[in-house]
């Protein structure tokens, strides 16, 4: 009996309504302030993006024109253009796209359709996620040694393209794996039940259904490759190419390389900063286009079954 009274007593002191009320207003205020701070830091990220785009755009004004896009390099900033770099980047993509899509999709098919849940699958998966975390400059050293010197491809488009392909391959593999895994099992069953072999089922059912996902992932990988600089610098890709490349064994320059060297040279000649900014705008427009295509594909083919 006495015990119960004691309990009641503690309970009452704990639940001192006035104290709680006072406390509550304070807690609500802290909550509001914190929300504002959290929102502020989210806003910060958006703000930086805005400033970055605005700054680069204003710096490029007056420099980014048709003449800039269609001329080759010159020692006079007013006459310099990025045609060679645009063609170089384009030829680079012509190598990266087929190599990564073929290897990436084939790897994904092997992992998901042939070696599903095997030890080999988990080993390759772990390997790929580690490769994705290797700094791009290391891929440059690999390319320099294997493609540049061992296979004697030098600083050619082929050497650059193969190096870039290895760099972005993990992105394509992961995207293709997800796309293949998302193909519902009942479609595979329908095909097998018609007497289709495994390869026929993959070719006629799995790949067509997974294609939008594969394409989206591939475009994202390409947009990574087109902006990547460090491996090309390590491979010794120069910015001083006056001749426009015509074949895959030619030396070349690319948009990010051009940006890099112009930025470094801006210490000497201020106008080079404007040229770099103009080149960045050109690069970002390309990236925006590629991403828009990826988004369009994703939206158009979203879940039809």
């Amino acid at each position: 009996m006495s015990c119960e009274i004691e309990h009641k007593g503690t309970f009452n002191t704990l639940l001192n309504i006035n104290k709680i009320k006072k406390n509550l207003t304070r807690r609500i205020m802290i909550d509001k302030i914190a929300t504002m701070i959290f929102f502020g830091s989210t806003l910060f990220a958006l703000l930086v993006l805005g400033i970055l785009i605005y700054r680069i755009f204003t710096q490029s004004i007056g420099w980014l024109d048709l003449q800039f896009l269609t001329s080759t390099l010159s020692i006079f900033p007013e006459k310099a253009g990025i045609l060679g770099a645009i063609i170089g980047s384009f030829l680079l993509m012509i190598i990266v796209a087929p190599v990564t899509i073929v290897l990436g999709v084939a790897t994904a098919i092997y992992l998901e359709e042939y070696a599903s849940k095997s030890k080999f699958q988990s080993f390759v998966k772990m390997n790929i996620s580690n490769l994705a975390g290797v700094p791009s400059v290391i891929f440059g050293l690999l390319g320099l040694t294997v493609f540049g010197r061992l296979l004697n491809l030098g600083s050619s488009i082929l050497a650059g393209g193969l190096t870039m392909s290895l760099l972005v391959l993990p992105i394509v593999v992961v995207a293709a794996q997800e796309a293949v895994r998302a193909v519902p099992g009942f479609l595979r069953d329908a095909s097998y039940a018609m007497g289709a072999s495994r390869w026929t089922t993959i070719r006629k059912v799995v790949l067509p259904v997974a294609l939008p996902g594969i394409l989206t992932g591939s475009i994202l990988a390409l947009s990574r490759a087109i902006g990547e600089t460090a491996p090309l610098v390590v491979l010794g890709i120069p910015a001083l190419i006056l001749r426009i490349p015509t074949g895959f064994m030619d030396n070349f320059t690319a948009l990010p390389i051009q940006i890099y060297y112009w930025t470094l040279d801006a210490v000497l000649t201020r106008e080079y900063a404007n040229l770099a900014a103009a080149t960045i705008v050109a690069l970002m427009v390309m990236l925006a286009m590629m991403n828009s295509i990826a988004i369009i594909i994703r939206n158009k083919f979203q879940k039809r079954y």
């Binding site: 849940k117 069953d189 097998y192 039940a193 007497g195």
Partner: protein, 259 residues
């Protein structure tokens, strides 16, 4: 009378001492089963009794699940389907299957019907057209879709999709059609249409249908088999099973005492 007629028919499937395990799980136990030509056999039983597993064994679809082991033999036209010389692809062209949920490909109606013909080497357009029309007619779908063969199959209703899947199966002229609860995802009207179709198809194909609806089994089948916990409890002509079941467990199931 009925029994005598049955006995004269040719045997299509003969299952001897079939056992199946999913890992350590013994799913089918010492099954013996015989199926006659141009018959509809219904398989009934509570869920989890192995009836789906059983018909998926008949076209070896069950082997797509890893860790499945089988023993015993299944003779299809006298040849053991587990023999190495019997290619599983060939078996599946001769033993077609219709699934619980309609599963057309995300392609046009036409491409769905001719899928099997195309992957097995029939390429001429006129042949494909002929095959598409014949199979869609047999599946009682032709009149509904003849003007929109190039539309995506997912624009069809559930019942139409299921009939499309039946058309797709019979397009490569199998001898047997396995149906795994083909109407369980459909409304009563669509179900009635499919049942009508099955009775029609019986003239040309041997049909095995898994169903959890005893009324359906009674309506369309010639023979009925009752499965319980991986065992075949009783099998005989449908009328007999539903009027005078020999086994107590069969009687309990069809009178609704469990299941």
């Amino acid at each position: 009378m009925v029994n005598k007629e049955l006995a004269n028919k040719r045997s299509i499937f003969k299952v001897n001492k079939l056992n199946l395990w999913y890992g350590d799980d013994h799913a089918l136990k010492d099954l013996d089963f015989e199926m006659k030509e141009n018959n509809v056999s219904a398989i009934i039983g509570p869920s989890g009794c192995g009836k789906s597993t059983f018909i998926k064994t008949l076209n070896r679809m069950v082997e797509l699940i890893p860790s499945v082991r089988t023993s015993g033999e299944i003779l299809f036209n006298g040849k053991n389907i587990f023999d190495n010389s019997f290619r599983v692809e060939e078996l599946r062209t001769r033993v077609g299957m219709v699934f619980q949920k309609p599963n057309p490909f995300p392609k046009s109606i036409f491409e769905n019907v001719v899928y099997g013909a195309k992957i097995h080497g029939i390429t001429r357009k006129s042949h494909l057209m002929e095959i598409a029309e014949a199979s869609l007619r047999s599946a009682a779908l032709w009149d509904e879709v003849k003007d929109r063969l190039n539309d995506n199959a997912y624009g069809l209703s559930g019942g139409q999709q299921q009939r499309l899947c039946i058309a797709r199966s019979i397009a490569i002229q199998p001898e047997v059609l396995l149906m795994d609860e083909p109407t369980s995802a459909l409304d009563p009207i669509a179900t009635a249409k499919i049942e009508e179709l099955i009775i029609e198809l019986k003239k040309e194909y041997t049909i095995v249908i898994v169903t959890h609806s005893m009324q359906q089994a009674a309506r369309i089948s010639d023979e009925t088999a009752f499965f319980l916990m991986g065992e075949l409890i009783e099998k005989g002509d449908t009328k007999g099973i539903f009027t005078t079941p020999k086994d107590k467990r069969t009687e309990d199931y069809i009178t609704g005492r469990f299941g």
